[in-house]
Symmetry: C2
Subunit: 247 residues, 2 copies
DNA sequence: CGCGCTGTTGAAACTTGTCAAAGTTTGTGG
DNA sequence: CCACAAACTTTGACAAGTTTCAACAGCGCG
């Protein structure tokens, strides 16, 4: 192992934790920072952590002291209630942040579970606040990220509050498609990382209802489904369905 | 009218916008600030604004440049969709903040409507970010407030995703009760500021279903209802109902 | 004082959940 | 590498919960 100070000269640098050479710069926290600011952010984002499928990044009730950026992989967050019921509150993918819910009470209020082998960057929250006070752009971007989370949640509330089963699933698929697109993947073809039950929990439906809706979409020629593999055939059709339009 | 600079010498000061003599200090943004910091916050919180019942504080699509603290009164936020449906995303009372959703895109994403005559304080957002960089405590508290909003939204998602009609209404009443209590009002007796339809929209139910659930609670001796006046007779009973317990 | 908005209640229709059975895929251990 | 178990998915039939439609009552604002 070379001494730390020389690492930068080695190709190994490419695997070092560093926002400055992360290709998620434009999706993640560093958005809009200049080189100097990026260097400061690098210092604060400590070691990457790897999680295998099924492992928890954090659990409800654990003390909060950092937020996490997903470097690669796929997560779900969920809340369990005493009576045994649980609700998936979100699915998070590459470049998205986890743990914002913990800021308010300094305790995590949900569980974050990797749905595939994943890699995350840890961002100690106190440090982030410190750096935010120095770097205006970072502060503002962080506020935007938190606000975006609120807007996203309002979207889910609308989905749960006023859509029926098939509309919810259509909205869900379109949302995934859009997020995959933003990450350079195909808008029309992807693998679901979650089970029908997890989708159902997120959408406020039972797994059987989700399965039936998938079958229905298939019959209607909107998509093809084979287990976890989905291909969207008719985006417009899904959009129409989602917005409740009836011909 | 005395010149502005002398206002502070007059009893009129009592009605001047000032966090430092606002009795919501402990609920609102100033929480935890010392006198010096409070004075700085005072400078930034510009004129109070009064709204009559039914008036909009802001509308979806309008440019965002400030957040608002409710000095007195009661609000709802809602989102309208093209197809005519709408969803109430929240009810806000004294000491709570409005407008956080607008930070992400610099455009308001919902409507905020006064449900009774109300008074609000305007907090220009750029100034708030500026002051946040100076006052550590304010920064942290603001982050907590945003995070609390996210946690609250998760609560609503759980309500919409896994509770049935009566459970939702029970949760709603208990939540109101708790918030009134925190503001020094009776935990057991209050007037609803919103219609059955608005409650229904918030809870993902039709107004008839809400009305029936109220009647049911009344029959079961959990509450008394007369139009908008509600008195909770059996808090424990409501809690049991909410958590799905069946005897 | 009456008109309109809000709330209540009933019956029927519809959507989703529940229960059950069978098919499929995945992972593990022999 | 196969066999078997466990987990996940699909589908059907029926039950339960919620919405829809409709009629009517009550309150409150002008």
């Amino acid at each position: 192992m070379p001494p730390r100070s020389t690492i930068a000269k080695f190709p190994l640098e490419l695997v070092k934790t560093a926002c400055s050479n992360c290709n998620l710069r434009e999706l993640c926290l560093p958005l809009g920072l200049n080189d100097h600011e990026l260097a400061k952010l690098d210092e604060l984002v400590s070691a990457r952590k790897r999680l295998k499928r099924g492992e928890h990044l954090y659990r409800s009730g654990q003390p909060f002291d950092a937020i996490y950026a997903i470097r690669s992989g796929f997560f779900k967050t969920d809340v369990l209630v005493e009576d045994g019921r649980d609700q998936v509150t979100g699915f998070q993918m590459t470049g998205e942040l986890l743990g914002l819910d913990g800021i308010s009470s300094e305790v995590h209020t949900c569980n974050a579970v990797a749905l595939e082998d994943s890699e995350i960057c840890t961002i100690p929250f106190t440090h982030l606040e410190g750096l935010s006070r120095e770097i205006h752009t970072l502060q503002h971007h962080f506020h935007k990220v938190m606000s975006r989370e609120i807007v996203r949640d309002h979207g889910v509330m609308m989905l749960l509050g006023m859509m029926r089963a098939e509309e919810r699933l259509a909205a869900f698929l379109l949302n995934l498609s859009q997020r995959f697109t933003a990450r350079g993947y195909s808008p029309a073809e992807f693998n679901l990382r979650m089970t029908r039950e997890e989708i159902g929990s997120y959408l406020g439906l039972k797994l059987e209802t989700v399965s039936r809706a998938f079958s229905r979409f298939h019959e209607d020629g909107l998509i093809t489904v084979q287990q976890k593999h989905v291909r969207i055939l008719d985006t417009q059709g899904l959009k129409k369905l989602m917005t409740h339009e009836r011909e």
